[in-house]
Symmetry: C2
Subunit: 271 residues, 2 copies
Amino acid sequence: MFDEATAVRAGGRSDEWSADVRHEMTIVNGHPNGGYLLALLGRAGLAALDEPGRRVVSATASYLAAPTVGPCTVVTDVQRRGRTASQVRATLVQDGRPTVDVQLLAADLVDREPDWGDEPPPAMPTLEECLAHAEAHPRPPITGDELPPLTKVVQATFDPATAGWMRGRPSGAGEMRAWLRFVDGRAWDPLALLLAVDAVPPATFDVVMTGWVPTLSLTAYVLGVPAPGPLRLRFRVGQIVDGRVDEVCDVWDSRDRLVARSTQLAAIRMP
Amino acid sequence: MFDEATAVRAGGRSDEWSADVRHEMTIVNGHPNGGYLLALLGRAGLAALDEPGRRVVSATASYLAAPTVGPCTVVTDVQRRGRTASQVRATLVQDGRPTVDVQLLAADLVDREPDWGDEPPPAMPTLEECLAHAEAHPRPPITGDELPPLTKVVQATFDPATAGWMRGRPSGAGEMRAWLRFVDGRAWDPLALLLAVDAVPPATFDVVMTGWVPTLSLTAYVLGVPAPGPLRLRFRVGQIVDGRVDEVCDVWDSRDRLVARSTQLAAIRMP
């Protein structure tokens, strides 16, 4: 589903692509997941660059308006082709209106050990011991009676110690730890990591139950090629102040290697 | 100097501004500091928005080419005007060529205590006990015999425990801690925090002495209004792998309040 949902087709012009924002990749009230949009635009950017072997290693999305499920156009602008990295901008357009604007950095991504810095993944129970959304009773408050469609594509299973929010009892620590896998068994790859860094509910749910927490700006770095197997995420709240929150998400692969890191600024209304 | 160096003048068109990239704000080999460029473009973006009270709360810069000292044009594109936040893009153009592309988020920034999350500043010696660049012997390897011109505008004084790189002896911890102040006594404000988050040498110097470490993408969040007095910075290396490094910089004001946080992806060549 991820590959279908991020497919881009060459449009009439060399800098225009057509795609479909898929319902399966939405979270609440038909809003597409922000990481999914990042991956969709990343794929369009790579298509525009057409530089074999290059992967998205950095992506920053500005969310200008809420995209809707359905056809869209992606306009790309190759800003620089470099020997070691290239830069391209991709903009999601619906009804002639830009809704998401992404700055992408593409480079070769070699599967190798870090030269320095290998932060270990957090200690957490096995995937089997963790809790999926569906196991929460009552359903997550954010979605009323229904689970987000995205949970049928990407399954996040949460460390019980950080899953109290599912029952309306946040731990107050401001941290979520979860395993992440594609329900259809698809393997993680660099492009899919752009989805992974934003694939779970806001870490603020572990502080206070609120309505949805819309991302204003999301930056993702892809640091490595993920090994086969599920990912582990640690999603942490930085500071909540004046209606905004910054959050950091770290992603490890099955070899305990940190393969992605994201930071985002989101809007939040305290009760 | 900071205010002169970031001044923008209305150009011929409503979306065009003229400015000067100042030598005083360069680091090595005439390269302007990345945080300075972020602040310059942030100021142009705010001018384009012309929304009183709005400050830059998020900024991401893509460095496309090395800008040179001298006149430049800033092209702005107001993408969205919102009730709680507005988004604008600003591009630095020299010789008809885009060199730095910035996505900005502007919002009202109220000076208040965080609702949640108040990470304390790291323990470090007093400003007087810390070491300025100029006190290092020999001079920082990155600049040969000369100190970066920027050090005469913004003085960073380093925690001796993290200043071994000045004498070519990195601690290996991958962390720098420093006090930061404007030499001319200018007070810190939200705009100047965009400079602060990138005002010290690469944290990688505390891991390995290399040539300059060019930033590829820099994202800064302004979380609060800084109180009068010097800032404290903690600049940390995440991971060095495959010729790239991610670094995080946290900035506290004199009230011990975290007022800014940045993350960047840079290019590094290991010896």
